[in-house]
């Protein structure tokens, strides 16, 4: 606390006369000079002592109304305004002066921004006599302009300056310094054409700009300007005519913006768009066109011209329904396509499209909706490919496939018919060819039995021959039927223990001819993959042949074995029997082909043909090796393609 306030609780009353004298002396002279300033005196306790006419005009209180009321009356009416006032008074005492920008309130309750200074006044004994208060209304126009000037000065991003009517620079803001490089001192007073290129100056461009602004009130352009260091920049320039209150030209304001960066971006974008446009335009294999939202053609590339036949000049602005066959136009297909693309972003279709010359092609079409940043539909891109050739290729492939299937069906039918025929053939063979044989044999037998005594030896021999022939024929028929059945019957493949199967067949052979002594060996652990019944027939025939053709050997040997050769098992049946001449080896496996006469060795000549048929059906191979009287070996393989 200031000592004077507490030491002397009522100094004001005491000092009034002196103060009044002081006031008369100092202030009367100030009144006229300081127009626009509210000037007042406060007692040390803050009570208003005096009030000039400007104060009355600014605050709205007359001197009578305000004198004696506390200084805080002028504060905004917050609860703490008494304390704020005390604080302000103390601060001015402490610092000698208190100069602040604050809010004040007029008598009518309106507020205004004010510059306030408060100065303590002391007498010669350094005693506080009063405070001198000065307040300026910052919202009044002249001050406002000053503040606006400050504002303009501080703007950094725009060069804002004033020109006199002839174009000489009158003011210069921070932005102008930054943008153009000159300081205010360097540039004020110089002509604004300093900022223009020599070419512009030569063509009188700066003067034209001023003319236009003077005549129309405003001139705007974008163009090249120079910085102090000679560097060019792309500028947006606005020149505005300035008038005084009477409408007389007093100069121009000039606002310049540096657009170099923006221009660079725009240029880059334009170039990229240009490249893209050139690329699209030069694409030949795709028709790439743009449609407006209603479907009118906006752009047309080389591919479109190639595929559809129209030139850009003929087609731009027309509706894309031109590309559709009449039935599509009638059904409104185009509208549906655009709607779908708009709704789903994309529409793809395959279909017939029409060229300029009326010919049709099979097209793949993709329509894509084009939207701007805000999602508004701007149009569509439409990419069309002529895939007639692919379609033709696909169609002919399909036709070929169908033809093939048809032929397979036909063949299958033929085959089935042939099978059917064979079936009924063998059925009738099995029924009808046997009956006569049975009669021949049966009646010959009856003759021999009932009339044998009446016949001579020769006649009986003939009857026996008839019986032998019919039985042999019956055997042939049976073998043939078996052979034909082999080709038709279903196979059921499974792993088969061939060693065991061979043993079984050998046992059967021994039982049929128990008197013969044959040394039979089978290699253990031989396995095959195939139909067990059919493989049994194979072994029956091969071992049966070996058995038969070793009939004249005293020490007959039959061997069944196998070995791995080239990743497959080669099985063999070997005997030490009669053998055969390799010259006839290729006839071994043909039906009814025999290398021995029935008198030498009985047989129908069907056995090996049957074996070969079975081996073939198993995807295997069979071959024989022999020399006359040196025994024979038959090798065979089976398809190894069973389940592993």
């Amino acid at each position: 606390m200031e000592a004077t306030a507490s030491d002397n609780p009522r100094p004001i009353l005491h000092g009034v006369a002196h103060t009044e004298a002081f006031r008369d002396e100092v202030f009367q002279s100030l009144f006229d000079i300081l127009d626009g300033y509210a000037i007042f005196m406060l007692a040390p306790d803050g009570a208003i002592l005096s009030w000039n006419t400007e104060a009355a005009s600014i605050f709205g209180y007359t001197e009578q109304e305000i004198t004696g009321r506390p200084y805080s009356t002028l504060y905004t009416p917050d609860n703490d305004r008494e304390e704020r006032m005390s604080a302000d008074l103390e601060r001015s005492l402490r610092e000698g002066c208190c100069d602040t920008e604050v809010w004040r309130m007029r008598s009518n309750g309106t507020r205004f921004r004010a510059r306030v200074s408060l100065t303590p006044l002391r007498d010669t004994d350094d005693r506080l006599q009063a405070y001198l208060g000065v307040t300026r209304d910052l919202t009044r126009r002249d001050y406002a302009e000053e503040r606006f000037r400050l504002l303009v000065n501080s703007v950094q991003d725009y060069a804002i300056f004033m020109l006199d009517p002839s174009g000489r620079i009158m003011s210069w803001n921070t932005g102008a310094v930054r943008l153009k490089g000159w300081t205010a001192e360097e540039i004020i007073g110089r002509h604004f054409s300093t900022f223009y290129t020599q070419a512009d100056i030569d063509s009188g461009h700066p003067a034209q700009e001023l003319n236009i602004a003077a005549n129309t009130g405003r001139y705007e352009e974008e163009g090249w300007r120079l910085r102090k260091n000679g560097e060019r920049f792309w500028a947006n320039v606005v020149i505005t005519r300035l008038n005084d209150a009477d409408g007389k030209l007093i100069g121009f304001s000039k606002v310049t913006r540096d657009l170099t960066e923006r221009r660079r971006n725009e240029q880059a974008l334009r170039e990229s768009e240009e490249r893209f446009r050139l690329m699209v335009e030069s694409v030949k294999d795709y028709a790439i066109i743009m449609l407006d939202p209603e479907g009118h053609i906006i752009s047309w590339n080389a591919g479109a011209e190639r595929i559809k036949g129209w030139r850009a000049g003929e087609i731009i602005g027309r509706h894309f329904s031109l590309f559709y066959p009449p039935e599509d136009v009638k059904s409104g297909k185009m509208g549906y396509e655009l709607k779908t693309a708009e709704r789903e972003g994309r529409f793809e279709d395959h279909g017939w499209r029409v060229r300029k010359d009326g010919s049709c092609f099979w097209a793949n079409v993709v329509i894509t909706a084009l939207r701007d940043e805000r999602g508004k539909l701007r149009g569509f891109s439409k990419v069309t490919r002529d895939i007639s050739e692919q379609k033709a290729a696909g169609d002919s492939l399909r036709r070929a496939h169908e033809e093939l299937e048809r032929r397979v069906r036909e063949r299958t039918q033929l085959l089935e018919a042939a099978n059917q025929e064979l079936e009924s053939f063998s059925y009738s063979v099995s029924h009808d060819l046997r009956a006569p044989l049975r009669s021949m044999d049966g009646f010959s037998a009856a003759l021999l039995k009932s009339y044998g005594e009446k016949l001579d030896e020769r006649a009986r021999d003939y009857l026996w021959r008839i019986r032998g022939s019919s039985q042999r024929m019956a055997q042939l028929i049976d073998d043939l039927l078996n052979l034909s059945r082999l080709g038709r019957q279903q196979m059921r493949k499974e792993p088969v223990d061939l060693t065991a199967l061979a043993g079984m067949v050998a046992d059967e052979l021994r039982r049929a001819e128990p008197k013969r002594s044959v040394e039979f060996t089978a290699q253990p652990g031989l396995e095959g993959y195939g139909d067990p019944n059919l493989l049994k027939i194979v072994l029956e025939n091969l071992l049966g042949n070996a058995w038969k053709y070793t009939g004249r050997r005293e020490r007959a040997r039959i061997e069944f074995g196998g070995s791995i050769q080239k990743n497959r098992t080669v099985y063999f049946v070997r005997d030490n029997g009669a053998g055969f001449d390799m010259a006839f080896a290729d006839r071994l496996f043909a039906a009814f082909q025999r290398l021995h006469s029935p008198n030498e060795f009985p047989g129908t000549g069907i056995g090996l043909a049957t074996v070969k048929r079975i081996i073939q059906r198993h995807g295997g191979d069979i071959w024989g090796q022999s020399e006359p009287e040196a025994g024979a070996t038959f090798f065979f393989t089976l398809d190894s393609g069973g389940p592993q």
Partner: protein, 154 residues
Amino acid sequence: MGLPTILLVEDDSNDEELGRLALEANSIKCDLVIAHDGPQALDYLWARGGYAMREAGILPKVVLLDLKLPKLSGIEVLRQIRDHPRTRHLPVVIFTSSKEESDLIECYRLGANAYVQKPIDFAEFSAALQQIGIFWLIANRTLSNKLSAHEQTA
């Protein structure tokens, strides 16, 4: 009561004669009735048509049925025999040249009692008929007609 009856359904007169010879050769005493086709066989069994005067209640001890027959195939005859209440349990032995598996399967499916392939060798043929005769005429017992009728109503 006379000799037991065998119905031989056979269109081939040679086979018919051979059958007769075989039965004689084996001294099988029976009354051999021959039907030359399917309808005739059914007429006999059901005592109708040319056999209308026959006593319907008397059935053969066994039917020897060839498969390849004119008019009605042996298979069809078998089906009708089995479909008819009176002959449902009548022993039927298929006696045929065929050894087609499909025939075998079909005959057993339709309820044939046996299937014998006619051998071509007369000795074997004769032996086959001998065994058939011994089995079906002597060893086998058939349902009496009464029982058969009783079974029908059950």
